[in-house]
Each structure stands twice: as C-alpha cells, then as structure tokens.
Amino acid sequence: MDFLIDPERLELAEAVRDYLAGTHGPEVLRRLDAGPNRDAVIWQGLVEMGLTGLLVPEEHGGLGMALLDAALIARECGRACLAEPLVESAFVMLPWLIAQGRTDDLVAISEGSLRPVPAHRINGSMADGDGALLESVDPLRNLSALPDDASDDPHLLDLGALMASAQLVGLAEAMLDQAVEYSKVREQFGQPIGGFQAIKHKLADVAVALEFARSVVWRAAQALDDGIDSAALHVSHAKIAATDTAWLAAESAIQVHGAMGYTYEVDLHFWMKRAWALGGAWGSRAFHLRRVDEAVIGGSHVIGPENTFA
C-alpha cells in the first residue's frame, strides 16, 4: 500500500508542463481562436515528445506506460488548455482500441500520422470528428455530429470520463493560479485585492477542493490500471469531484477578476469554457452521481472504513 506517485512518473508530466508552458501560452490560444484552431506544428511537437505513443505497448514501439501516467499528463493538457486532441486520441481512444485487441494501427498512432478519436453515445456529439460541425462555446473545441456507429461501450466511457477528470483538475489549477496572480496586482482601496479576506477565503476554498479532488482522480486512474471491479464507481467519483472543483474554480476566478473576467480580452475564458465543456462530456454530473448512488446507497459496493480501497 503506497499512495505516493513515484517521482519518476511525475518527471515526465513535469516535462510536459514545462514544454506546454513554453510553447502553448495564452498568445497561442488567442492565435488559434483567430484562425484555424488546429496546428500541425503543435501536434508534431506532442508526437516528438512521445505522447501519442505513451500508452502504446513497448512491443509496438510505444512507451508502454499506464493510465495513471496518461492522467498526470492529461492534467497538464488541461492546465495549458491544449487545443489539439491528444487526450481524446492517445489517452482515450487508443487504450480502448488496445483493450479491444485492435492493435493494427498502433504504430501509425504512435507516429502521429493517424489520430482516431472516440465517438460515444453518452456525448451526443464528438470532438475532432468528421461529421457536420456543431458550435461549442469553447472556441478551441471542434465538435461534430455523432456518427451512427458510435459506441456505447462502458469501458470507453470510463476512459473518457477519467481523462476528462484529469484535464478538469489541470484547468482548475490554472484558473486558480490566474485568479491568485490577478489578486496580487489589481489594487482597490489602496491595496492589492488579494489582501482582502473575502478574496482570500474564496480562493482558499478552491485550493481545498483541488487538494481533495486530485487524490480521487489518481485513485480512479489506478483502479482502471488495476482493473478492479469497482473501477467505474471510482471514475464516476473522480468525474464529480473534478467537475465540481473546476466549476468552483471558474466561478471563483471570474468573480475575483471582476468586470475584466466578463470580457473576451482576459484569457481566463478559454479555461472556463473548456471546464464547462469537459464537465458535461463523458457523462453529465447527474449521470455519474447516479452511478455513485446506485453503488453506495443501492448497496452493490461495500463501504465503510475497512473498505477504503474496495
């Protein structure tokens, strides 16, 4: 029993964080918003970091890493508000294909030349698909109509919900950082507004929510990696915790930014809109709450202190 994430596993995620911080800042989001919102150069950079092959088994030329590693990187994609469909393609669709024994395209996916994206009925639409375009409030999300042959496989749903949760954690972290930074520089009544307890306590609440959402998401990732029977329950828990945290972060951050937060000029809106999108994707909050309810109150899952890791 060891809940510590090995430092080596965190190193790769930190490298991705640094890379995205250097190459995918707010100016990139604004550029993508103003023109075509996908960029082959950005995608190629992610491929060269090995991220498209992260979950590809080593015998197929990939890094053979686990869903927990992917979740740690998905969090960084959320933090950077990454537009490219790395998470949906390489961390959701690809492990699902592998789980189904469909390994023909793994090399092409690793190399970045092929990027299949998941279509699941729970969503009603899909990101980066080929169908008729639908307009999302998130300007960097390419939504299209769901094809007729979309899957309803529960494992695909769990993978999608887990990776959405991890991104929501990163989105919340980024929004909290932005609100904190703004509170230090914006002055009213002769002092930074971050000195007022009303502002401090609002953002402290976000920090609390984040602290207790992260562990839930990592636990869900490990549950899927371990293939335990209750994994779907833990994924639903993660999706609820991460969604609630990201929405709290978004609403708190816009409030701290005041009228500036209500504009298109402050970058916060990119992260906020992604949080709205991912909060609903891969199963609404109500859907996941029902799964938790059925397991916990319905009695199919054993609860209580002796069963922390059941």
């Binding site: 029993m1 904190v180 002092q191 402290a204 602290e211 207790f212 562990s215 490990q222 309810d293 209580g304």
Partner: protein, 387 residues
Amino acid sequence: MDLAYTPAQQAFRMEVREWLAANVPAEPLLTLECEEGYHRHVAWERKLAEGNWGMVTWPEAYGGRGLDLVEWLIFEEEYWGAGAPLRANQNGIFLLGPTIMEFGTDEQKARFLTPMAAGEVIWAQAWSEPGAGSDMAAIKATAVRDGDHYVINGQKTWSSRASFADWGFGMFRTEEGSKRHKGLSFLLFDLDTPGITRRPIRQLHGDPGFAELFFDDVRVPAENLLAGEGEGWKVAMATAGFERGLMLRSPGRFQATARRLVDLFRKHEPEAAPSAREAVAKAWMDTQAYAYNTYAVAAKIMAGGSIGAEASLNKIFWSEMDRAMHRTAMQLLGAAAELRHFADGRMNDWLEGYIFSLSGPIYAGSNEIQRNITAERLLGMPRVGAG
C-alpha cells in the same frame, strides 16, 4: 502508487479486528464529556493499553508498537469500523506525545510518554485565554522563573478535558514585557498543583467537556519546560500542526459516519425526496476523498517528506464535511432529531455528533484562520492589515 495491501498488512488488519471484536464494549459508553463517562473512557484507554494498542505508532520504548503510518491507518479503520469509543487521551497521544518526541529531553520522554501510552495520565490542553483565541500570540498568562520553579499566574479557557484530566500543557509568557510570539514558553503541569482552580464550563450539550483554569502563584518545576525558555511559539506551532494535520482526525471515523448515514437514509428512503440522496452520496465521496488524501500524506511522510500549511486544507475539509454529514442526518431524522434519546432508549448519537461537529470549524484554529493560512502561505496572496 500501489493500492493493494501486503499480506503482512492484511494479517495485521485481522489481528486488530479480532482484538476489537473481543474487547469493544457492546453498548456505547456514556459521553466522554461528563464525569462518569470520562472515567469509563479512561478505563477503555487502559484496556487498549493492556492490549498494547494505546498508541501504535510510538516507539516500543515508550509503550507503542513502532508501526508505520499505513499500519496506523489500518488500525484506525478497524477501530472506527468496530464502533470503538472516543479516545479520552486524544490531546496527549496525538498532540502532546508527538511534540514531546520532537522537543523533549530523554528524561521528559521517559517521564511523560510511557504513562501517556499506558492511559495512566490523561492530558488536557490549555491554549486559549479569554483574550487569546484565534489570535494565540496575544497570550497574557505569565510564568516567572524562581529558583528551580516557574510561578504561573493568569487564566486559560476552553481547556478540553481539563474538568477531569490529570495534567495539562500550554504556553505562558516567561519574558516580562515581551510581545506577541516572543518570550513564550511551553510548560507541562499537574492539574492538581496548589493554586490551580478548575471551573468546568458546560458545553452546548450541557456537559462540562472543557474548563476554565485559573493560576494563582502556581509553582511548576523547571524540568517541566519543553524545549528552551522563549521557544514556546515554535513548539506550539508544531503541536498545532499535528492537531490540524494527519493524526487528530483519522479518516476511519468519518467513513464510519458516512456508512451510518447511508443506513439511516435507507430507513427514511420511503418519505425522503430524491434530492436528499445527493447529500448521502456526497458523504461517501468526501469521506473517501479524505481517506485517499490521508494515505497520500502518509506515503509522503514515509518517503521522508513533511506536511506544512497543507494541514490547513485538511482541517477545513474534515471539519466542514463532518458538520455536513451530521446536518444531513438531523434533517433526515425530522421530528426525532431533537430527542436526546429515542423512544427505544438508544442515545440519539446523531444529535450528539451534530453538536460536536459544530466545534470542528472553530477549534484548533478557526477555519477562517485556516483559510487565511491557505491563501497566504500556500497561494502566496498578500498579507495586508494583519498583525
């Protein structure tokens, strides 16, 4: 990351479970906050010590088992899962004990830790004063060196367990004219020392769970000074860290409450609105999240790390979660919520628990203070206008 218990850990769990099954009182004990209930809980402390379960993480030399934090969590899970009583010596084993281990001399460790683990000496805390609550640096009570003694004068209040306990610990101003965090020292004292007057204070539930302490020329031997003279603030901050941090509120207790809440909901399901289910499901989710986080912090400490201001996040989370769970139960109980005992004679432990839960966001540094600490030390927000 490895979320499976080793065979040795599972065997330990079974050992704890068996001992508890054979020894936990069949009926809940009378409340710890009244005199008779206090003595029953002290008897339980001694029973625990007989089985060498008094403080499992302490070194064997002081009456512990030298277990690691994962084993401690397993013990706590089984303890609360079995419905075992509250710990009368909580202030000692979770707060003062770790503080003595960090700052005490070998002589102090031998003198204080062993009887603490054995349940022979029950400890009360003496932090707050009438003018020093959240602002603990405003302490006024003095301890003046006189030969090989300190002479204490002043007043402490909200001293948990002090109505009935044996010994107390607290901070006193040893340097005349010193201000704020400077000139404070951490002293341990026998509550029966001449010159100490205890005035029990009735708490919300009506029982004297804490007391006011009046010190009138109380002579305390100088060897009861913990760490150096003037180092009290440093020691107290470490103690407060233990209190807010890992050990005081183990997840097992809250997970047991969540399980009881699920059971209660099932009884009330026919008349309850569907929306009531969410608060119940949330109780499970939040208590699990708290447990995962505690395992994560334990793993971090076992790997050589430490906890700092993150302890404030913890304290905010568990205290508000505990209150929310009991509020949900009270609202499900409806007209029965106000009963001290149900019609069948059972104590309404949801009411007692709700009352107790209201203290959580207040004591050990109010949650407003914790939010300030979170904002300033973890988020780096500016300190403005604070003393």
